[in-house]
């Protein structure tokens, strides 16, 4: 019987050896240097530009090797959590801003509050929407990696055909609704606008921009109670309902991926969307305008932004300081400018926007992106930074969809959702 145990022992040590071999990433590079790992979801153009920046840094810093690993952005948090539990988190990871309140709870996340106040960082140079999302309860947990926002992309050809003037920067939602109605032509299966209705955060944040423009708030200060069941909430919801139910001028997309094709086929007049969609509209002669406003409210022209963060995990003091050093270099104006010009991504720093010739250069590769860049100035607030936000978002998603599908009236939907949100915020378990 001894041989049997010997067999087990031998085989398991082989496996252990194999696993250990897999696990031993080059945590300390050769010749006394240090290797820091960075997880990112860049592909294609972005991956190329990022690899270039990393190689520039590695050449300039012989003691440090930055090693980049591709991880699909959607899965990064899952993988980071696993790695944290396993005791080998990456030094830096690209994490969605919507996760920030939850990420802040991970004990290994490095507090960057002092770092971003350091000399030469110029924290206020990042847009306020970015800083808000990187900050949880007064603690900075990340450095902005990406920023975007919503604006109106419209089909110039359809506007001309309908005899409409292109939207102007001071336009209103009333005009938007009227234009949408005029752009709608059931015979041609042509819609004034579109809205995504899976009820996910993509459904929700479009409406949140309207809510803010109408002067409303999502939650009351302190994030303990709903604030959206207000005249502003009603105005925002009714505006969407008017198009979906009354005018039938809104193409409802239950899948969140059909609308881009429909717009690119010239069947939709106006789309509220972000800069990431511009590259998939090669067939449309499009223009970009800021979001319309609700006159008579305090909101003015606003938009919503979904910034993402670079987050540092604690792998010991030397790793942390090397990671901080690299990250501050990566997010410094020169590198931000390079990355934006190479990829078409909006610059995460304000000073880059105002650099001479920058907007023109950006627009040359991606027409209309300049409006999105200047629109970053209209990002005045961020979604509530509470770990319960995903639950709040689900409730709001159902509220919006039920109104757009004609299943409930705006006022009743708002009241019902507010009650559910209050309940969710009251119970710690979400």
């Amino acid at each position: 019987m001894r041989t049997h145990w010997l067999g087990v022992a031998l085989a398991s040590s082989l496996v252990a050896l194999g696993l250990a071999a897999c696990g031993s990433d080059a945590s300390s590079g050769g010749s006394g240097g240090i290797t820091i790992s960075i997880w990112n979801g860049y592909t294609q153009t972005e991956a190329k530009a990022f690899a270039h920046l990393v190689s520039v840094y590695n050449k300039a810093h012989p003691g440090t090797t930055v090693s980049s690993l591709y991880v699909n952005n959607d899965n990064t948090l899952q993988k980071v959590l696993t790695a944290v539990r396993g005791g080998s988190p990456p030094d830096i990871a690209y994490l969605y801003g919507s996760w920030a309140p939850n990420v802040a709870q991970i004990p290994q996340v490095v507090n960057l509050t002092k770092v971003v106040q350091g000399p030469g960082v110029s924290w206020p140079d990042f847009w306020v929407g970015e800083r808000d999302v990187a900050t949880v309860n007064g603690k900075v947990i990340g450095i902005p990696a990406l920023v975007d926002n919503l604006a109106v992309v419209y089909n110039k050809t359809l506007f001309a055909q309908a005899g409409l003037k292109p939207p102007s920067p001071d336009w209103t939602w009333q005009q938007f609704v009227a234009d949408a109605a005029k752009l709608t032509n059931p015979a041609k299966k042509q819609f004034g606008t579109a809205y995504v209705t899976p009820g996910t955060e993509d459904t929700v944040w479009h409406w949140e921009a309207l809510l803010w423009e109408a002067g409303g708030q999502i939650l009351k200060p302190g994030n303990k109670q709903a604030a959206f069941d207000s005249p502003a909430g009603l105005q925002a919801l009714t505006t969407l309902r008017d198009m979906a139910i009354t005018d039938h001028s809104m193409y409802l997309d239950p899948t969140d991926n059909a609308y881009t094709n429909v717009f690119n086929s010239g069947k939709i007049g106006m789309l509220v969307t972000g800069p990431w969609d511009l590259s998939v509209f090669p067939n449309v002669h499009y223009g970009v305008q800021v979001m319309p406003s609700f006159p008579g409210t305090s909101g003015g022209h606003q938009t919503i932004s979904g910034p993402d963060n670079w987050v540092i995990f604690n792998n010991g003091a030397t790793h942390v300081s090397a990671a901080e050093k690299f990250l501050l270099w990566l997010t410094a104006p020169a590198q931000v400018k390079y990355f934006s010009l190479a990829t078409g991504d909006l610059p995460t720093r304000r000073s880059v926007e105002t650099a001479p010739g920058f907007l023109q250069q950006m627009n040359k590769s991606l027409p209309g992106v300049d409006t999105f860049i200047t629109n970053l100035g209209n990002v005045r607030q961020a979604r509530p930074q509470t770990p319960t936000y995903p639950k709040v978002s689900q409730i709001l998603g159902n509220m919006i969809v039920s109104v757009l599908l004609g299943k409930s009236q705006p006022q009743a939907a708002l009241a019902g959702a507010a009650q559910q949100v209050n309940q969710a915020l009251a119970s710690t378990n979400g």
């Binding site: 049997h4 085989a11 959590l81 709870q105 009820g199 969140d256 639950k391 599908l405 299943k407």
Partner: protein
């Protein structure tokens, strides 16, 4: 007496190395066996059994996987499930889906298998085509069906309009979306049941079919009384296999409606995903997963019990 003693001795001396010889290969074989099995077994243990046990533990915790703080909450997660209206909806959607999908995929598969169980031209082409639905990735399948069933631009509504039926909302309608997913997945899985049924049909002896014909049975009676009972082992296998898959429906929902509109396509596994990876309620998600495990266990046990009664095995 000496001779036998000497013989015995000789035998013993002979048998000692012989026994050892027999034993040595046995030991090394045993060693080799364990050596081959252990890595696989360990990997299964680490990646299969440990998560199963761990999620059982988590189902009694409040655990968001973010902090190290994971207090035990007893049965609270299980009790919360009872009061969660979405769980009730998800159970209902899962059962309705399973009740439609499993017979649907089996009947469609049986029909095609019988139709293709004959010598006609290009038969292998048809058979390959039928199985191709299994080879197509779920994401392509979902995208194609999204466009087929698009309320404004879809082909399905176009054909319905030719029949004078008004425009349907399909994936945009809380009362229709689940059925669109049923159709989508039946299409995707029919190839699988075709292959199983075709194989089983090859095993139906011509002798029995001839005997039935001699006894004056028509084609329908022969099919119902002879072929179908002989296919029952295949049917049981398909029923169990497809049911387990149906109860775990996720991909198609994730790729098309993401549980919407208004939770109309939120099935149990999708809800587990939502609770775990969107809301970070890993404890609650584990509890729901264990509840689903219980459902699958009961349903499969019932199927096997019933199957034993209705399945006909040829000796």
């Amino acid at each position: 007496m000496t001779a036998p003693a000497a013989l015995l001795r000789r035998r013993r001396t002979e048998s000692a190395p012989a026994r050892a010889g027999r034993r040595r290969p046995a030991a090394s074989e045993q060693f080799a066996g364990w050596a081959f099995v252990t890595p696989g077994a360990l990997i299964i243990l680490v990646f299969g059994a440990v998560p199963i046990v761990w999620s059982a533990v988590m189902s009694f915790q409040r655990n968001n996987l973010l902090t190290g703080n994971t207090p035990y909450v007893g049965l609270r997660n299980y009790r919360a499930m009872v009061h969660d209206p979405v769980v009730a909806q998800a159970v209902q959607h899962t059962l309705v889906y399973t009740a439609l999908f499993v017979p649907g995929a089996m009947i469609a598969g049986l029909f095609l298998a019988v139709a293709m169980n004959r010598k006609i031209r290009f038969i292998s082409l048809y058979r390959t085509a039928a199985y191709a639905t299994m080879a197509i990735s779920t994401i392509s399948e979902a995208v194609v069906f999204i466009w087929l069933f698009d309320p404004s631009y879809g082909v399905v509504n176009y054909f319905l309009s030719l029949l004078g039926i008004p425009q349907q909302q399909f994936l945009n309608s809380p009362s229709q979306a689940l059925y669109v997913i049923v159709i989508m997945t039946i299409w995707g899985w029919t190839g699988f049941s075709v292959v199983i049924y075709l194989a089983a049909l090859q095993g139906v002896p011509q002798m029995l079919l001839d005997a039935a014909a001699v006894d004056g049975a028509g084609p329908w009676t022969t099919f119902r009384r002879v072929t179908l009972p002989l296919l029952s082992p295949a049917s049981l296998f398909l029923a169990v296999w497809l049911t387990i898959n149906a109860l775990q429906l996720f991909d198609e929902v994730y790729l098309s409606t993401q549980g919407g509109p208004l939770n109309a396509t939120t099935v149990l596994v999708y809800y587990v995903y939502e609770q775990a990876f969107i809301n970070f309620n890993f404890g609650y998600a584990s509890a729901i997963a264990y509840f689903l495990f219980l459902i699958i266990l009961v349903v499969t046990a019932v199927q096997f019990r019933a199957g034993r009664r209705f399945t006909h095995y040829r000796s």
